[in-house]
Symmetry: C2
Subunit: 225 residues, 2 copies
């Protein structure tokens, strides 16, 4: 089956490092789902404003065409336990499809006449191709009591985030709140725990450098590109 992108993501996640590991974890970070010209038809979205959340079906584009792996080692399990790929949301799957449930905060028109959905909570990188948009229907999609193996969210421990100087926080400007939330999710690979190591993450036009020790993430530098 041949499928064709209907939209592309525009946001501040310029690289994989730092992207939240699941949708909805960083509820403040905004993204635009910019429709391709062919699908920038206002009436195709009529009624969607009545929904609070949407599903995106998208492509792990870096993994497309690569071999699948029957088992993977989920970072959440420390990276040393093998789990079947179909028991995870890992990208190493036969078809590189992903799905994310995001908050819909608005439907807009871009300056060049495209329709764009404003969403919050994305776990998608800037430029990611999107293949479908569907409304989230709680009466069929929401199963709060479903048994959930090792992925019960309890391993998404949050870090305390501090900026070494107040000036540094000021550099983040209006992105301060969302940057803090993303950093609190701990962008490091799960099995890293070296308090002296300096990590670098880009977010929009910022390059952010930080260290982590004892559950606290300290931002030591913010450079603006």
């Amino acid at each position: 089956m041949e499928i064709k992108p209907i939209a592309y993501i525009q946001n501040d996640f310029m690289e994989k490092f730092g992207i939240p590991k699941q949708a909805g974890l960083a509820g403040e970070a905004e993204s635009l789902v910019v429709m391709e010209p062919e699908y920038s038809v206002a009436e195709a979205f009529r009624g969607l404003e009545q929904y609070g959340r949407i599903w995106l079906i998208w492509e792990f584009s870096e993994f497309s065409g690569k071999a699948w792996s029957p088992t993977i080692r989920p970072p959440a399990l420390g990276g040393n336990k093998r789990i079947g790929v179909f028991a995870t949301r890992s990208p190493h799957r036969p078809n590189s499809l992903a799905m994310s449930c995001l908050e819909l905060s608005g439907i807009e028109k871009t300056s060049d006449g495209r329709i764009a959905l404003r969403v919050k909570g994305a776990d998608l990188m800037n430029g990611t191709p999107v293949y479908d948009i569907k409304p989230y229907l709680p009466y069929v999609d929401s199963w709060p009591q479903a048994k959930a193996g090792f992925s019960d969210g309890s391993n998404t421990r949050k870090l305390e985030v501090v900026f070494e100087t107040p000036e540094m926080g000021a550099k983040a400007g209006e992105k301060l709140h969302e940057l803090t939330e993303i950093l609190s999710l701990d962008p490091r690979p799960s099995y890293h725990d070296d308090p002296d190591r300096v990590y670098g993450m880009s977010y929009g036009s910022m390059n952010v450098r930080f260290r982590v020790s004892d559950g606290m993430l300290t931002v030591i530098e913010i450079e603006k590109a």
Copy 2:
């Protein structure tokens, strides 16, 4: 992007008529998700038994390659109000992708060595191609309070189901319970309301004929093929 079926559905829904309009509504009806030989690798499912529900990403195969429609008239709204296709789960979409959240009741091996997932609540027809299987993660997928437009489930009014004679119920045998549940969801197009009309539905090897009036569905005949 080219995607390839990894599995096909085996169940009693031999035709479109009678298939529940969303996943999970007919929780008794069982289906098998039979993996293609290439993906019948036991270790690829290791850990999946710890999950109570799974997502399937599948293809509205009857609609593949057909033109998309920017608006559709949802049966749930009586068939005379136009809604944008992206505000619905309608199959008339640019890419014929569907997703369903189903109860996982077991992982089995077929007599010819395929791996098959036993699931409940399918809204998929027998033979439907499946492109991905993912675990359902309540902490990212379950949003019971999400605002849900016209699709709040309130229009899935259930019918009372009666069999004209006890013999007729007996003909359904071990399928009686699930057949009754499927019929209670009202297989008729939403805008039909003709008490004299006789409808026919196939379910597995049965041909079921029924009438509906005043919220009651009466089974008048069951033929076994």
